[in-house]
Amino acid sequence: MTLRRKKSLEDWSLDTFILLALLVIVLITLYPFYYILVITFNAGTDTTNGGMYFWPRDFTLANYSYFLNDSKWIKALGMSLLRTLVGTALGVLFTSLVAYGLAKKDLIFRNAYFLIILFAMNFSGGLIAYYVVLRSIGLINTFGVYVIPGMLNLFFLLIAISFFRDIPEELGESARIDGASEVRIFSRIMLPVSMPLLATMCLFIGSGHWNAWLDSAYFVQNESLRTLTYRMMQVINQTSMPSGDAAASAVARTHVTPFSIQATAMVVSIVPILGVYPFLQKHFVSGMMLGSVKG
């Protein structure tokens, strides 16, 4: 043993190479986030001069105070939070409810149901036909278009079915004998014992809602429904100031620029992700692996 533990030249060079490579990967991944953070604490007009890499050169909180005082951004932030909360709750509950139904042992028509689901998983009518349907049922330009079309997540449906199947039947049976309805058994017994599943679903469905921008950009025209990601995209697409003349005078006073405000919005949109990251991290792998098994 002692002999083998000695590091050979090969070991040493391999370890060094890997360590360096990982260091580079970590830097490449983290530095862009850090750089954006630096921009948000620097006067926007100064940032445009370039040459700032590691530390704010002209430190200011003006970007944040501008962001917090601009009703457009604040409304968009609120809308993003709202759609994420409502959309995640609806998506997780509806998907698991349908999964609970499908997980029932000896379910009649089971195969027919699965055929319908698997077919829907693999084929779609494309975006245009989808838009036609959304328009015809009156979802276009409503809050509903954010939360209703994503209510049934087929990927998690399959995962949830196999999860519910593994829950011992006796758990629901005793409540059933006591006369509890299926809805009650589902909400009071099945959901509480399925926390790992629900956490994984919340993470993935929630981050999907938080990051979505396409529906806000193309299915909604009402300005009060715009989300945070949409507003950020808007700044990317147009170099003009987000809020017109009033904002232009704000630039003169506070040295913010569309770019520095956008960076601030980006930081604001990353913070919630970082906030839930440590709590949900252990579920990443389970979520991914469950998925890949089904792959």
């Binding site: 490579a21 954006i36 009649i108 494309g126 989808y130 349907v133 990051n211 193309y218 991914m288 692996m289």
Partner: protein
């Protein structure tokens, strides 16, 4: 007779479950199956004012929309961009998570390993909009750190217009996609590595195999089936961007009037023509062509993989 009567009772007993499932089926009918019938639009002269009904009632137009697409002066560049982006993404992104996973597996220090993993998953949870914003912060010619640093170091003589130069678009899209998603996909390979019997490594060590040899002869073969599955998945979903993310979102966000020549792909064109110009039938025809190519890719990549290695998805 007895049997149907019996199952009727059983069905009644299961009724709450059928209600739950029924809600889901109803949902799929509205959001999946009606849009599937919407494919008919491609062969008709559809007007949006006629609603869902119009899918079935509007007049047939045969293949005229498909012909219109082929004759469209944008068509060759659309096909070129879609294929180039897809192929480049598969080719450049595929090896990255595999190499990364192998490197991680060679790290003995658990805390370090977990730290690197945690960091590398982070971009996956960030929106494409934010990734694009970061790309703008890095590559813009005015204040972007990329040109700024290279110019001041004297490596560049004049700035590269990464964001607007059509020639830079493929590279920009592929590299940002790798940055965002490659770390995430290592999970699958790390899981496959965890399944390799440690006794193999011990035996090889006793036989005097160094670490490089162990990587070559134990780790790599141990990853084989994961590699094949992921390759099938990437090729199958190639036109959508493969595993490293959405061609559509990237082209929408990183594309602009200046790099349009390289950034416009079939999907974004369909979207723009359909929703912005209201040419719904034409756009659906474009959608449909892409879907058909995708299906062919999925089944043929799976078939080839099965032939060569005996591993397939179906």
């Amino acid at each position: 007779m007895i049997r149907t009567k019996f199952s009727g009772i059983a069905f009644k007993k299961q009724l709450p479950f059928h209600v739950f499932v029924g809600l889901g089926i109803l949902y799929l009918m509205v959001f999946s199956y009606i849009p599937m019938f919407g494919i008919l639009i491609a062969f008709k002269n559809y007007r949006i004012s006629s609603g869902i009904e119009g899918i079935f009632t509007s007049a047939w137009s045969g293949l005229s929309h498909f012909k219109e697409l082929v004759d469209d002066y944008n068509f060759p560049s659309l096909v070129r961009n879609t294929l180039a982006l897809s192929l480049l993404k598969v080719a450049f992104s595929y090896p990255v998570p595999i190499l990364f996973a192998i490197m991680l597996s060679e790290v003995r220090h658990t805390a370090l390993k977990r730290f690197v993993q945690t960091v590398s998953y982070l971009p996956h949870f960030v929106s494409w909009v934010v990734v694009t914003g970061i790309a703008y912060a890095f590559f813009s010619t005015g204040y972007g750190i990329f040109n700024d640093s290279l110019l001041s170091l004297g490596i560049l003589k004049k700035p590269i217009e990464v964001l607007t130069d059509p020639g830079s678009f493929y590279g920009l899209a592929v590299s940002t996609a790798i940055w965002k998603e490659a770390g995430w996909w290592t999970i699958i390979f790390l899981a496959a590595l965890a399944g390799i019997d440690p006794a193999l490594y011990e035996a090889a060590e006793i036989d005097g195999a160094g670490r490089l040899r162990r990587i070559l002869y134990i780790t790599l073969p141990g990853l084989k089936s994961a590699c094949i599955v992921v390759l099938i998945l990437s090729i199958g979903s190639m036109l959508g961007g493969g595993l490293v993310g959405s061609n559509f979102e990237q082209s929408m966000l990183l594309g602009n009037p200046l790099n349009n020549d390289r950034s416009q792909i079939i999907q974004t064109y369909a979207f723009n023509v359909g929703l912005a110009q209201g040419r719904f039938s034409f756009a659906t025809a474009i959608d449909l062509i892409q879907s058909v190519i995708s299906l062919v890719l999925i089944f043929s990549s799976n078939f080839i993989a099965k032939r060569i290695s005996g591993t397939g998805l179906y």
